[in-house]
Structures are given as structure tokens and as C-alpha cells.
């Protein structure tokens, strides 16, 4: 009887905690008005969506699934589908805040992604909503400047020179970041502000592997406030890389065509040699037969 009571109370505790969990889930996720009104400093474009997609697939799919497929991992509270109204009816600022800080099982991504990377993810999430129109921030009449970028490489000091203009006027204090694009990702060269002449210098390791002509694929981003400019350019910076096949010279690991002669010769000579002997013996059976008959004739 005693045990029975125990069971009862255990079941009761379980039920309670389930209810509590539900209550917690139904709790509003508090977002202050200021946070809610926060807007992306960048206009969402295809490139942001693409980068967001990569981050999303690496960090979010495991719980939230493919946006629009409602295939998120079942947990309490449910993570929800980023393609659904649950997400899409929220403001960008609210999503930004929630991704940054997390809650319960939803991890905090503040330390994982820089702000612009978080906006990339939001751009990706928004790409599943055809009705979405990105709100333009109220700039109080200030115009967003359009930047032009010019790149050069100073061989003497191995520096990438980035010059930022707007309407031919050099722009100081613009945040410039530069990357080298590789096969699997991008290498950050540095993040720096332009000087009073509108120029930023970034170190480039001249030993970086380039393509066959010694070119690196450089990506430069310049931002200040809501202004953003990007430039992709291939520049001759490093020594040409002569690509060698990883198995060159190792014919023993290569395709059959490349098999070393000594191996072919010794393999086939051995095998054919041994089989020749075996056939010699099998044909020899005739001699054994003949030897039996020959004598017969002589005796008869």
C-alpha cells in the first residue's frame, strides 16, 4: 500500500512539472519596445541570404529544421518553424534580440555571431516570406551615402590598400573588413577604420596560396551606419601556385593506367609463369596415359 502511495505522488509530481513547463512556454518572451524597433543596418540582398543560409544550416537546423517544412525537433516548448507566422509576424528587432539572448533550450548566440552575421540569418529567414518588406529605418532626413571602393596592393610592405570614396570624396572612419575567399570559406585579413585620407591598410601574408596566376580572390566590405559597400576582386598578390596531384609520383596508389612497370611485370610474370607450369602438368597427364599404353603394345 505504501508503495502505491509513492507511485501516486511521483505521478503527481510528473504531471505538475509538465504543467509548469507548459506555463513557462506560454509565457510571453519579453522584448522591450526599443529592442523590437531595432532594424537591420543593411538592406537584405541575395548575398546576405546565402551567408545566412550557411549559418542557419550549421547552427539552427538541428532544432528548427528546414524553414517552411515544420520539421523542427519536438521539444517542450517547441522551437517552432522559422517559415511560419510564429516567426514571420514578429519584427526583425524581436527576432534579433531572441537569437542573441536565447531562452531555455534556445541557445544564446550573442557570442557566436557578430551582429551582421545575425542579420544574415534573419535575411535568410525572411526569404521564406514573400510578403515581407524590409522596413527602411527613419533616418531623419539624412541620406545614406553610397560608397565606391578601390583596391591596390603595396608589394613593398605586403599591404592591401583599400580606399573608400563617396562622390569622389575620400571617407574617413569607415569600417573596412577584408577577406580572402578560399575553397571552403573565407579568411579574415583584418577589420580596420579608414584614416583621414579614406584609406585602410591591411596586412596580407605573401605566402598565402594563390591560383595558377598568383591571384587571390579578395572580398572587401565597407560599412558606416547604414551605408554598406562590397567589392570582390581577384588581385595578383602572391606567387603562382603550381598545383600537384596529391598522388603524383605515388603510382602505386594511383589508377590502373598509372601502375608502375615493375609491378605489372612482376605480377603478371609470376602469375602467368605459375599457371604455365600448372598447364604443363595438366597436359602432362597425356604422357602418363601414353606411358601406360606404350608398354601394353610392347607386351602384346
Amino acid at each position: 500500500m505504501n508503495y502505491f502511495k509513492y507511485y501516486k505522488s511521483i505521478i503527481l509530481i510528473c504531471l505538475c512539472s509538465l504543467v509548469m513547463a507548459n506555463v513557462q512556454a506560454q509565457n510571453e518572451w519579453e522584448v522591450t519596445t526599443e529592442q523590437d524597433k531595432n532594424l537591420s543596418p543593411f538592406m537584405f540582398d541575395d548575398e546576405m541570404v546565402l551567408e545566412g543560409k550557411i549559418s542557419y544550416e550549421n547552427s539552427c537546423t538541428s532544432c528548427h529544421g528546414m524553414p517552411g517544412q515544420a520539421d523542427y525537433t519536438p521539444m517542450a516548448p517547441p522551437p517552432g518553424d522559422p517559415g511560419s507566422n510564429q516567426f514571420q509576424l514578429q519584427n526583425d528587432g524581436a527576432l534579433f534580440h531572441k537569437i542573441k539572448l536565447g531562452r531555455g533550450a534556445m541557445p544564446k548566440f550573442e557570442d557566436v555571431f557578430a551582429d551582421d552575421e545575425t542579420w544574415n540569418i534573419i535575411a535568410y529567414i525572411r526569404s521564406f516570406n514573400e510578403n515581407y518588406k524590409q522596413p527602411i529605418p527613419d533616418l531623419g532626413g539624412v541620406e545614406i551615402p553610397k560608397y565606391d571602393l578601390k583596391l591596390a596592393f603595396d608589394e613593398n610592405v605586403d599591404k592591401l590598400v583599400v580606399k573608400v570614396f563617396s562622390k569622389e570624396i575620400p571617407q574617413p572612419e569607415v569600417e573596412v573588413s577584408a577577406f580572402v575567399k578560399g575553397t571552403f570559406g573565407k579568411l579574415l585579413l583584418g577589420k580596420i577604420q579608414t584614416n583621414e585620407l579614406g584609406i585602410a591598410y591591411l596586412d596580407v601574408d605573401p605566402k598565402l596560396p594563390g591560383d595558377a596566376e598568383g591571384k587571390l580572390h579578395i572580398m572587401v566590405k565597407a560599412t558606416k551606419g547604414y551605408a554598406l559597400a562590397k567589392l570582390n576582386q581577384k588581385m595578383k598578390i602572391v606567387q603562382p601556385t603550381i598545383r600537384k596531384s596529391a598522388i603524383e609520383g605515388r603510382h602505386i596508389w594511383s589508377t590502373d593506367k598509372m601502375a608502375p612497370i615493375w609491378l605489372k611485370v612482376s605480377f603478371f610474370i609470376t602469375i602467368f609463369g605459375v599457371w604455365a607450369v600448372l598447364f604443363f602438368i595438366v597436359f602432362g597427364f597425356r604422357n602418363i596415359k601414353k606411358a601406360g599404353r606404350e608398354d601394353d603394345v610392347m607386351i602384346e
Binding site: 603510382h251 602505386i252 603478371f268 605459375v274 607450369v277 601406360g292 608398354d295
Partner: protein, 441 residues
Amino acid sequence: MNDTLSKEILTDDQIEQDLLKNINWGNKFKLWLAFLAVSLIICLYFYYQQIEHGLGVTGLHDYVSWGIYISNFVFFVATSLIGMLISSVLGLMNVSWVKPLARIAELVAVAFAMVAGLIIITDMGRPDRLLNVFMHGRVQSPIVWDIAVVVTYVAISILLLYIPLLPDIALCRDKLKNVPKWQQKMYKILALGWKGKAKQFKLMNNYTRILLILIIPIALSIHTVTSWLFAMTLRSGWDSPIFGPYFVSGAFVAGCAAVIITMYFFQKNYKLDKYITIDHFDRMGRLLVLVALVYVYFNINEIIVPAYKTNTADAKHVQEMLSGHESIMFWMVQLGGLIIPFLLILFRPMRRPLPLMLISIVILTGAWFKRVLIVVPTQLAPYYPIQNVPEKWTHYMPTVPEIAITTGSFILVLIIMSVLAKLFPVIPIWEIKEEINHNKN
């Protein structure tokens, strides 16, 4: 002078009668064969399942892609090597006491080598693509070398069984008049018109001699190449330059045990105690001690050298063996399957037929599990850790179809040996006659 044979004076007639006695289709044998056949059909049913559903019915997966099939293959190749040791090495050295055993060793070799080839096919998900191995194989691949040598070894072993059998087949042709028609006809064809002429003997001896010499390098390479399948792969536990001799020495242990077991059953069933004597068991026991010693020596090398270098992947592999996850099987195999039996056989009473046969069964079982220990654990410890895969890929457990198919390979060996032993005398009659005449003079 051969002192292992019975001291009784045996006439030629007596010898022929004794040694041809096993050639008949008695009811007991039919029952035995039927039992084997039914068991084989059951196993074949599981193979049919595997063909139908693919290798998914086995416990194999992306990490352990070589399971008990390949372990079993290595074991079979190993066991078959004994034919070379007994009939060739000892035969060429004129060790006369092995003569009555040479054919039994060859029988073991042929049966195990033939089935070894089939076992590789059971490990293939698409056996219908077997021919591709020959058509598109890379000559650099140890797998191609392996297939080439296994096929060659089977051919040589069959010839080496057949050619010294000629005089005895002729004897069967002449003496056995109450066997079925087809059997008489078979003897007639296979005897190659044997009349026991001097020239025929000369040819036979020449051919046998060529084969005996040829089989030594081929037998060594068949098992060395089998070991290279592993040793040439960059994996902890396999990446070892002594794998060739290590495998060959292990092969002789398994083979000796298999021959002793076979000897025992032939001696008991066919009442051959005048020809396979207690003395034969004693000497086979001593041979087993010798080869086991060599094998122990290689085992020590295989373990102590990597274990000394504490922090390498190979050392971790050895650690797993000595005290980790695989330790129970490891110590069962090393102590139970090798050291203790080997110490026991050092004592003369343990080399009497029955105890020796029982010890051999233990050794052979140990040898089988030893192959599993060589093949499987390495694959579970790749250099890149196993991550983000289904939980069951982190271990390996053979399934029922897999075990049944493996059992089937043993049944097939038993069928081949039983049938061959019913068609031909298991002891070379003409050699025994020569030997006894020689002793008499």
C-alpha cells in the same frame, strides 16, 4: 626406417583391404551427409535472404565493413596453409613419418582453400559484379593480388591432392567392383590409364616434385598477401610490417590443429589405428608445440613494440586489447586458445589422441576468434572519431543470417572432406606398401 607405423607385419593384401574399407556408401554415412545437406540448405536460405535484401541483413556498417565474413576468410586461408607445411616442407625434407598424413593435410588444404574463395563472395553486396574484380581490378591493389593467389593456390592444392592419388585411384578401379557404375567410370577416367609402369611413376614423381616446390612460395604469398590486405591500410593495429610472418605462423597453428582433428575422426571412423598411430599424434603434437611457440613469439612482438610507445594510436589499440573493451576476448584467445593448450601439450599424456584432439578443437576455436580480434576492433577505432552517426555504428555484432552463412562455410568444408574421404583412400596405399616393404628388408 619408419617407426611410427605399426610393428605388426602387414601383407599388401591386408593393407589394401584396410585402407580401401572406407570407400562405401554405408547408411551411417548417408545419414551424416543428409544431415550436412539439410544444415547447408538452411544456411543457404539465409544467403538467399542476403542476396535479396543486401548486406543490410548483416551487422556490417560504414565503419565495420569487414566483420566475421572476412575474419572467417582469413581463418580459412590460414587453415589451408597446413597442406604446404606437411606435404611440401616436411615431405621434401624426407621426414618419413608424415607420409601417411600428407593426404589428410592436402584434403584439409583443398577443402578450406576452396571454401575461402566462396567466403569472399558472401561478403560482397553485389556478387553478380564479381567479374568486375577481374576486368577492372587495379594491379596495385592487394585485393587483386589476393584473388590471384587464392585461385592459384586452390589449383595447385587440387593437383597436389590428385597426382599422388593416381596409383590409388587405379587400385580402386581394379579392386572395387561393387561400387556404383558412375563411380567405377570415374575411377577409370581419373586413373589416366595407370598401370604402375616405371615411366608413369617417374612422371608422377616429377610432377609432384615440381608442385611441392611451387606450392611453398605460393602458400607463403597467399597468406602474406592476405595479411597485406590489412597491413597496407593506414589503420592503428594493422599498420605493422611483421603482419606477413605473423599471419603465416598463426596459420600453421590453426592448420596443425585442423589436421589433428581430421586425423582423429578418420582414425576412429575408418579403424585406421595401424596406420595413423598413437605415435603420429605424438609427433603432430610436438609439431603443434613448435609452431605455437613461433606464433607466441610473433604475438609478443606484435603487442610489446606498439605498447611501449605509450601515446600512439597503435598503443591505444593495444591498450584496448590488454585491459580495455576487447580484453575479455583477447585474454580468452591468448591464454585459453594458445598459451594454456600449448603448455598442456608439452606433457606426453596430453599428446595421446583423445586429449590432443580436444586441445586442438580449443586451439582451432581460439584461432577463429583471434582472426575476429585482428579484423574488427581496428575498424571501430578510426583516426577520425566516429561522430554524428547512428548509435549502432559504434559497435559491431554479427546478425543471425551472418552467423548462419558463416556456419554454412564450415558445413561446406565438412561436406567436401567427407565426400572426398568416401571416394578415395585417405592414406596413400602405395606409399605405405613401399614403406612397409622397405621396413621389412
